[in-house]
């Protein structure tokens, strides 16, 4: 027999003369892997062994380690089948194609009877990072620039798609070659199309076109808000002509308009196009990991070629919910499942393995159960995720409230955790140093890494909704929130710098600092959207003095607003200029205030063309910059 080799993080060992695989201890905050500590190398006679592979969705993200897809699958198989099954979980968050193929190959040491693959959402984010204007290696940026110069953004998207297809096919072929005749069940991933939206600036080089795009966008969004679906659709289709399908924002408007008009099939197509166009843009701006059409095509083709059974989740989900466009019923956020979503997906796998009807299995197998405290934490985690990853689209408030209310209704004690989270964020300290975090760690509602403890941002979007919902649900606790904020972050007589990522109202405006660290290395706030907002934490007893140092192209109006009230219209120009602004106390709220700079859609700064910069190997912002803020300090009068 050959010497055993590691499988992913599981190292070969022997215990009582028997070979086993053991993983390193789970850190206090959890990690990316399943919680199972050891795996016996040898199968128990009569028990069929399933090895389960996938990404965060498969790992039961936000539920794990308390509940995972693998455990649900094992329970369902054992409930439905005549013979016993065991499911060994190799899914992990941040899984890539290459490492999945390696893990599958190594797992053959366990002599599995069945392989299950559930991936695809990560491909758009993790498989083509070199096709990014922010990739650290200048050589990668140069080749990006060369493609861009040749054929513009559509060429870059095509190159990314090409690379992704090649990579995916190669990795799946490696899996096919290693597993031989073993049955491989493949899930075709579905994503939250109804509720999760992209809001991305278009990548347009021409200033006139950009201005036209933003003007049309404002009009379409206004019409949508007023339920004027026809007008919105007309304008959105004009937007499409301007951006040539490279901007997901446009497709979202089209989809929303069609949905209002009762055309759900057309809406579905538009939403799918939104995800597809985002699959490249997410590399350089505000995307989420979501599987697109391409992913499903590659998986379908590989299944056909290798005669692997295919589990068509989009079809199952649509039929189960009776809705063409699936949403929050099955998804916690952009792609991670609710309990019902996990049940549905795994029941379909169970049915396929046992050659049963999926509907019979879905109806027969018991719904997975978890303690209410854990489910409440999951919903709070979903809210955190939504606040961090969903841009400022009309449905954000709705979705945040949905998650927070579910948390409250599942287990009311989660309210204390919400306040602890607010406190940990407000201190500005690493959460690990706060008493609030320590308290949470010892209680029944322990937040883990996946719930966003390690986050260097005030998180005002989340805090605002928590404060609003607790007003009804727990008024005494709700009263504490403005005081906590004022205690830690409240203005005093010393100026406080608000032009810092910490105070940015929209966390996504920092790009994806976790992924592309180098994008964070600027000293000023660059504003890639016509509005830039900051959290201003102050009492209502005194006026607030602001000092703004900013620039934009000269000759266009800029409006400074607090809670929607215009407080100044400073005249900015290409050079840095300093402006003093007084905010009268009558427009202030006790605690949270929203300070917004509204740039003119025509005020875009002239910067060196991105393709030229990229060809030199420099980073480039592909999106227009409306203005830059060097400093925005605030203090009480």
């Amino acid at each position: 027999m050959t010497k055993p080799t590691p499988i992913s993080i599981w190292q070969p060992q022997t215990r009582n003369g028997k070979p086993i695989f053991v993983r390193p201890p789970v850190p206090a905050y959890g990690d990316h892997h399943a919680s199972r500590m050891e795996i016996p190398a040898d199968k128990t006679k009569g028990i069929r062994r399933v090895c389960f592979f996938g990404e965060s969705v498969a790992a039961g993200y936000l539920f794990a380690p308390h509940l995972t897809c693998a455990r649900v699958l094992e329970d369902q198989l054992n409930y439905m089948a005549d013979e016993p099954y065991e499911v060994i979980d190799f899914s992990r968050t941040n899984e890539t194609l290459g490492s999945m193929a390696e893990t599958v190959a190594a797992s053959l040491q366990l002599q599995p009877d069945i392989i299950v693959l559930y991936g695809g959402n990560n491909w758009n984010l993790l498989e083509t990072p070199r096709i990014s204007p922010y990739f650290p290696d200048p050589e990668a940026r140069k080749s990006f620039g060369a493609i861009w110069a040749e054929g513009g953004v559509t060429s870059v998207m095509e190159a990314a798609i090409h690379q992704q297809v090649l990579g995916a096919e190669a990795a799946l072929q490696v899996i096919a070659d290693t597993v031989g005749e073993l049955p491989v069940y493949v899930l075709l991933p579905e994503v939250n199309l109804a509720d999760w939206a992209a809001l991305q600036p278009p990548i347009l080089a021409d200033t006139a076109q950009r201005t036209r795009w933003y003007t049309l966008f404002e009009a379409a969004a206004t019409n949508l808000a007023a339920q004027n679906a026809r007008a919105c659709l007309d304008q959105a289709l004009k937007l499409l002509a301007v951006d040539e399908g490279t901007c997901p924002t446009t497709y979202r408007l089209i989809g929303d308009a069609w949905l209002l008009l009762g055309e759900s099939e057309k809406a579905l197509r538009a939403y799918r196009a939104e995800v597809d166009s985002e699959s490249y843009a997410s590399l350089c701006f505000l995307g989420s990991p979501r599987a697109g059409t391409l992913t499903r095509k590659v998986l379908t083709r590989m299944c056909r070629e290798n005669k692997w059974p295919l589990i068509d989740l989009p079809a199952i989900f649509a039929e189960h919910t009776g809705e063409a466009v699936t949403g929050r019923r099955l998804f916690l956020d952009y792609c991670h499942h609710t309990l019902e979503g996990i049940h549905l997906a795994m029941a379909t796998v169970t049915a396929m393995i046992l050659d049963d009807s999926p509907w019979f299995t879905i109806a027969s197998a018991p719904m997975p159960e978890i303690p209410p405290e854990i489910e409440a934490v999951t919903w709070l985690g979903a809210a955190v995720h939504t606040a961090h990853r969903l841009p400022d689209v009309p449905r954000r408030k709705e979705l945040l409230d949905h998650a927070l209310i579910n948390a409250l209704q599942t287990s009311f004690g989660i309210t204390e955790t919400m306040v602890d989270l607010v406190e940990a964020r407000a201190t500005g300290l690493p959460a690990v140093l706060t008493e609030a975090q320590e308290r949470n760690f010892q209680g029944p509602y322990r937040l883990l890494m996946q719930h966003g403890w390690k986050y260097n941002h005030l998180d005002i979007v989340l805090i605002e909704r928590i404060a609003a919902l607790l007003k009804d649900a727990a008024p005494a606790l709700a009263e504490r929130i403005p005081n906590i904020l004022l205690h830690h972050r409240g203005l005093g007589s010393e100026p406080e710098e608000l032009a810092h990522p910490f105070y940015l109202w929209e966390p996504l405006m920092q790009f994806y600092p976790e992924i592309m660290q180098s994008a964070r290395e600027t000293t000023c706030i660059r504003c890639p959207w016509p509005r830039t907002s900051f959290a201003l934490i102050c009492p209502t007893t005194r006026d607030v003095n602001l000092k703004l140092v900013a620039r934009q192209s000269a000759g266009f109006p800029t409006d400074v607003r607090v809670n929607g009230h215009s407080v100044a219209t400073p005249e900015l120009c290409e050079s840095w200029t300093r402006h003093r602004i007084r905010v009268p106390r009558c427009v202030l709220n006790h605690g949270i205030n929203k300070l917004t700079i509204v740039w003119s859609p025509k005020s875009m700064l002239n910067t060196e063309p991105p393709e030229e910069r990229l060809q030199k190997g420099d980073e480039a912002h592909l999106h227009p910059i409306f203005g830059e803020i060097f400093s925005l300090t605030a203090r009480l009068d």
């Binding site: 941040n94 140093l433 996946q450 660290q517 190997g617």
Partner: protein, 587 residues
């Protein structure tokens, strides 16, 4: 108002300083803010800090002064890489372009040659009216060693040694051979040297031929600068007759002998160059800067064995400190005058946190710290008692130091009379190699009783002999030397008072002083850094200005949870992986 920002960046140790009307208002290294050791990136955080410290913003700045000449540097880089003179992988515009973009600066950027910036960082901060100038480092543009003379507001660099001949690169190659990191591990070689015998001196001399006057030549057969993973050729391995030491592996006697030989040859050459410079300039004062000027053993010999009566070494002698020189040169260009006639007497140029701000930070941690506000004498007594009881103390007080040394603002302090202190500090606090000695902070008035030291040494830049009646194993190197910092009340009153209180209890007017960090991490900057460092080490006590935290006061699970918060190795800028394992992730 004349407001000048000096900058060093893009090689290692990026930093920024601010000079307002000739006053050095603030200076800091970028690594302290980003927590990435030797961070070379545009110092965006240090830049912001400097302006905030002065209450200024970007509209107040007159000019940026950059510490080297990108055009000349590119020329040398292309030459060294063996590519064409117009090869686009080296772009002379990139540094200034990056400065403009990352800092948002749109006004004038003045650039000064690397060694000129080093020389200015020493001379214009020395208080001397005339001095000989010696700058020695790895390499800047072309120069690797420069000789000059400073008089009034003029600097004349009249001779230089050019790349590839470089004492800094020679020392770096041996550093790499001995398994330490180039650009930061050189001082480990210096620390290792006294453990060995200079048996390899003859062989090291084959690497470098010292010549008359200011010149010397490296024998390039033994070097290979272009190889990314090391700086020497196979010929060096053959010459030294032993395999290169693997990083982190055991240190063998042969390694100590090589270190001793390298150090001896360096000292010989530097002494001859300094003597030649004294003769050539006739100056009584010498100013030094450049990374090699951080070799405090060589510095001590230069003071003792050359005709120079006064010596001023820029405390931030490495590239970080060159931003000071660039700012000083720009000040002269703009105003026609030297920015200062007096010597830099302290380097507390970084951020500070008041007692009240620290209280504000401590409340949400739930740590029941002892509050000594308005009771400084009690604080001093409390900490002194703990030091007497051989506890290790993290000492956070006042503005952070600029430069590589902790000088009583961000220091770990310990009892030098404790016979086990070196091992204990090395193992449980610093987590580093055990051979390296610690430095003492000694009250200036008592320095002569314990050290053979004729002058003040406020910046810990020279070694001298220990001649104390006390047994001081913690700070005495194997060869009987030490690297003291002399402390006076005017420079750092609270620190001086602490040492005096320790002396009152023990008769010993000195403390062990080492930088406040664990291995591989930059020195702490903020109170949060200090708390995390305490949790990540086994420090007994943390003094945050007026607040004292004992180990048992830390949150119960902090240590277990900490691993998630500490930065993953290598960061993301290495280009290997786009996503880190230790971050909050979502896919």
């Amino acid at each position: 108002m004349v407001c000048i920002v000096g900058l060093s960046a893009f090689y290692h140790d990026a930093s920024c300083c601010l000079m307002v009307d000739g006053n050095l208002v603030a200076a800091a290294q970028e690594e302290r803010f980003t927590r990435v050791k030797n961070d070379p990136r545009t110092p965006v955080n240090a830049f912001r800090y400097c302006l905030e410290e002065a209450g200024l913003d970007i509209t107040d700045i007159d000019c940026l002064a950059y510490y080297e000449s990108p055009g000349l540097k590119t020329e040398r880089q292309r030459h060294a890489a063996g590519v064409a003179d117009d090869d686009s992988s080296f772009d002379p515009q990139r540094p200034v372009r990056a400065i403009r973009e990352k800092l948002g600066w749109r006004g004038p950027v003045r650039t000064y040659e690397h060694h000129r910036s080093h020389a200015a960082s020493a001379y214009f901060f020395s208080g001397f009216q005339d001095a000989a100038l010696l700058t020695v480092d790895g390499v800047g543009e072309w120069a690797t060693t420069s000789y000059g003379y400073g008089g009034g507001s003029e600097i004349d660099l009249f001779a230089e040694v050019r790349f590839p001949h470089s004492l800094g690169l020679l020392y770096a190659a041996v550093t790499a051979f001995l398994g330490f990191k180039v650009n930061s591990g050189e001082y480990k070689v210096m620390g290792l040297a006294p453990y060995g015998d200079p048996k390899y001196t003859a062989r090291i001399r084959r690497l470098v031929e010292n010549k008359d006057a200011g010149d010397y030549h490296l024998n390039m057969e033994y070097f290979d600068y272009v190889r990314g993973d090391r700086m020497y050729s196979d010929a060096l391995i053959e010459l030294l007759g032993c395999p290169p030491r693997e990083p982190e592996s055991e240190i063998l006697p042969v390694h100590t002998h090589i270190a001793a030989s390298m150090q001896q040859v360096l000292e010989e050459i530097l002494l001859q160059k300094a003597n030649w410079l004294a003769e050539k300039t006739g100056a009584g004062n010498l100013c030094m800067a450049g990374g090699v000027a951080l070799n405090c053993v060589a510095n001590g010999r230069i003071r003792r064995e050359t005709p120079f009566r006064e010596l001023f070494i820029q405390p931030a002698a490495g590239d970080a400190g060159a931003c000071l020189g660039a700012a000083a040169l720009a000040h002269i260009d703009i105003t026609g005058k030297r920015h200062s006639e007096t010597a830099l007497d302290a380097v507390y140029l970084g951020p500070a946190w008041s007692g009240d701000r620290i209280e504000h930070l401590l409340v949400p941690t739930g740590i029941p710290a002892h509050d000594f506000r308005n009771r400084e004498a009690d604080l001093i007594a409390f900490v002194a008692e703990r030091l007497v009881k051989q506890q290790t103390v993290g000492w956070f007080h006042g503005r952070m130091e600029f430069g590589p040394r902790a000088l009583g603002a961000r220091s770990i302090l310990a009892n030098p009379l404790d016979p086990n202190i070196r091992d204990r500090l090395n193992k449980v606090v610093k987590k580093r190699e055990s051979f390296r000695p610690f430095a003492p902070s000694v009250l200036l008035d008592h320095a002569g009783e314990h050290f053979q030291l004729e002058q003040a040494s406020p910046f810990m830049l020279e070694t001298c002999r220990v001649r104390s009646a006390l047994k001081l194993p913690g700070i005495t190197h194997i060869n009987g030397s030490a690297r003291p910092q002399t402390v006076t009340a005017p420079q750092n009153p609270r620190y001086a008072a602490l040492i005096a209180a320790f002396q009152a209890r023990t008769g010993c007017p000195l403390l062990v002083n080492t930088s406040f960090n664990v291995r591989g991490e930059p020195i702490v900057c903020s109170p949060a850094d200090a708390l995390l460092c305490m949790a990540n080490s086994e420090l007994d006590l943390l003094v945050l200005e007026d607040f004292v935290i004992e180990r048992h006061m830390l949150p119960a699970h902090l240590e277990a949870l900490l691993e998630v918060w500490l930065p993953a190795d290598g960061g993301l800028s290495g280009g290997k992986s786009a996503v880190s394992e230790h971050l909050y992730t979502f896919v």
